[in-house]
Amino acid sequence: MLALKSVPLSLAVVLTLATSAVAGVKIGVVTSASGPIALVGIPQKNTVPLLPKTAGGETIEYISLDDASDPSATVTVFKKLVLEEKVDAIIGPSGSPNALGIIGFVAENGVAVLAPVGSASAVLPMDDKKKWIFKTTQNDGLVADLLVGQMVKTGVKTVGFIGTSDSYGDTWSKALQEAAKAKGLTVVAQERFTRQDTSLVAQGLKIVSKSPDAVLVGAPGSSSVLPETTLVDVGYKGKIYQTHGAALQDFLKLGGKKVEGTILAGSGMLVLDEIPDTNPAKKIAVDYIAGYEKLYGVKPATFGANVLDAGLLLENAIPAALKVGKPGTREFRAALRDALEATKELTGAQGVYNMTPEDHSGFDRRGLELLTVSGGQFHLLK
């Protein structure tokens, strides 16, 4: 451990909310605020000042670090947080490959991790190591079921898929195949691309040549736009579906008129005006968006809300853990994990969480809405 202390860490250390030297609860936050998935990490990093500042009478101190989207840097940052800073829990990292790389390390050291990552493989299938990981996003399977359900309802028989050639696209390709098999759909085309590709005409033509009734685009962030606009350009006339990875304002901005009529599943955060006030998540989301806009002058992407929810889960779990031990001890960390696993009916900005030992994502259908694009805006699909 002494040797580790002398390792010069070239990573930028941003201490947010360094309130005082009082020993409160220490939470590490690891985001990818630079590098290829910075568009996910930046709203997450920006959310840190909006996280709960006290819980159960203890102050919460957040230590926010950037892993530059690099899975090996994630491990270094986690080691620093756990071994040097002795944090009680960690929120992060932003990317699925980054999260998969640290499971062994956190399980060994007994630190709970609340990962705002997309891929369900971080918490499924549950085992002795993954029990330390919690995931604050909807599982892909849940979203896939909803989308495929909608396809079946509208009479779709064949479906094409185009996704990124990374773990996001892989997971979605698998999720679509499973959901399609269960509901009797045929996947007739499987195409891949990378985010930096400048032309997807070839993939588009290949899909059109198989003439599927619908196409699902499995790509995160603004990379979800080019496949869809290309399909429109090469004359595809069927319905185009997107995953929750496209549920961003930038999707509308970049896609313009060509993404009108897209069907996607996403958190209700995008259509707050149309969500009934009875939905418990609405108030939290409204407050979060207002607070974020006040600090940064822009609306947050839903990725930020995943970090906010992680903070809310911790705020809810810390009082129970304080009864067992003092912050900074192994007992406290273990109790915190148990308390997180026992979360019941906790409302976050994205939906309602009910954790169980088997389900560390804890979402049900309530957090998820079917959306469509019309008039350059997201609307609830009616």
């Binding site: 630079s34 032309s199 005409v201 070839a202 290949k206 962030g221 350009d233």
Partner: protein
């Protein structure tokens, strides 16, 4: 696959190939004059595309800050170098002019609402911001080590590329961007639909290639650059300064990159880090041209575009592998044909 699909794939390949050809030409140009393998060439493309997008989105253009910063660094370096060399104060005209350009683009970029000014003004301002980066990068990073082995130059080029990508993230943010097309029209040619933006890409590339050809054949500057590329020492003996040659070739490279960025931005989503893959394909073209022949490199780049387009259709997962595998037969053929080459290091 039927004729219509083949036609559309071919059209797509020609569009990409035209851009790769431009980049291949500028890579060869810079390499033959300065021995620098210009890895940051792609950044000129992305910076100009993102600058256009920023203007059209009504955001201030902050790239000028980088221009001004580099220009100030160049000014200091010029003054210090002249002191050491001549022990006197000499007006560093070039870097003073670049500082002035930097001040102008910072001032205009932050104050003028370019989204209301129409596309010609946006294009002009994008060129005025991105093109000075070429000579500035040469002055600040490469001129002091101009005589170093080409391996050192390559490493510095990679370092500059990485630094520029980081700067790009800081300046433009992580989001992808695309710009409005020059015109929306779609031309139906028999069974194929051709978007007019595609014609713009091909037309502009062809024009630029012809203009470059004329520049090298006819103008004095072009001839000087050719001389410097042909024999560096000889050119210096007849009064062509290597600094001038390096600066001019980098200016041309930046101009070509910036123009490519402006014409491709409407047909694809460009990210701050998209430049590398684009210029890497330009490299493949340049290598097919043996890093020396402009025309063979341009044809090679068109071949890369076609290979990319058709291989994506057959196996989209492996398309990069297929494109870069093109290098193997080319290298093999070149080395078999040339026999052993004397190493100049």
């Amino acid at each position: 696959m039927n004729a219509q699909i083949a036609l559309m794939l071919g059209q797509d390949g020609v569009t990409s190939g035209a851009i790769y050809a431009l980049l291949a030409i500028s890579i060869i140009l810079v390499f033959s004059v300065t021995r620098i393998l210009l890895v940051p060439q792609g950044e000129f493309v992305t910076f100009s595309a993102l600058t256009m997008a920023a203007m059209q989105g009504g955001r201030p253009v902050r790239l000028g800050v980088l221009v001004l910063g580099l220009a100030l660094a160049a000014l200091v370096m010029d003054v210090v170098a002249d002191r050491q060399r001549y022990r006197a104060w000499i007006w560093p005209k070039t870097s003073l002019a670049l500082v002035a350009v930097g001040l102008v683009v910072v001032g205009l970029g932050l104050s003028v609402p370019f989204d209301r000014l129409g596309m010609l003004a946006q294009i002009a301002f994008t060129l005025a911001t991105v093109v000075p980066l070429g000579p500035l990068i040469y002055r600040v990073f490469f001129q002091p080590i101009a005589a170093a082995p080409s391996l050192v130059l390559l490493m510095v080029a990679i370092a500059v590329h990485v630094a520029l990508i980081g700067g790009g993230l800081l300046i433009f943010g992580p989001e992808g961007a695309r710009t409005e097309p020059f015109s929306d029209a779609v031309i139906e040619l028999g069974p194929a639909m051709i978007a007019s933006q595609t014609l713009w890409v091909i037309g502009v590339s062809a024009l630029l290639t012809i203009a470059l050809g004329l520049f090298f054949e006819v103008s004095l500057w072009g001839k000087a650059l050719r001389a410097a590329a042909f024999n560096r020492l000889g050119a210096e003996l007849v009064g062509i300064s290597p600094e001038f040659a390096g600066r001019t070739s980098m200016t041309l490279a930046a101009l070509i990159g910036a123009v490519s960025g402006i014409v491709v931005a409407p047909i694809t989503t460009i990210y701050y880090d998209s430049g590398f893959l684009i210029s890497l394909k330009g490299f493949v073209g340049a290598i097919i041209g043996a890093m020396s022949s402009f025309s063979v490199a341009a044809l090679g780049a068109l071949l890369v575009g076609q290979t990319e387009s058709f291989s994506t259709f057959w196996a989209s997962t492996y398309k990069e592998i297929i494109v870069f595998t093109l290098l193997l037969p080319v290298l093999l053929w070149r080395s078999l044909r040339q026999g052993s080459v004397e190493d100049d290091e």
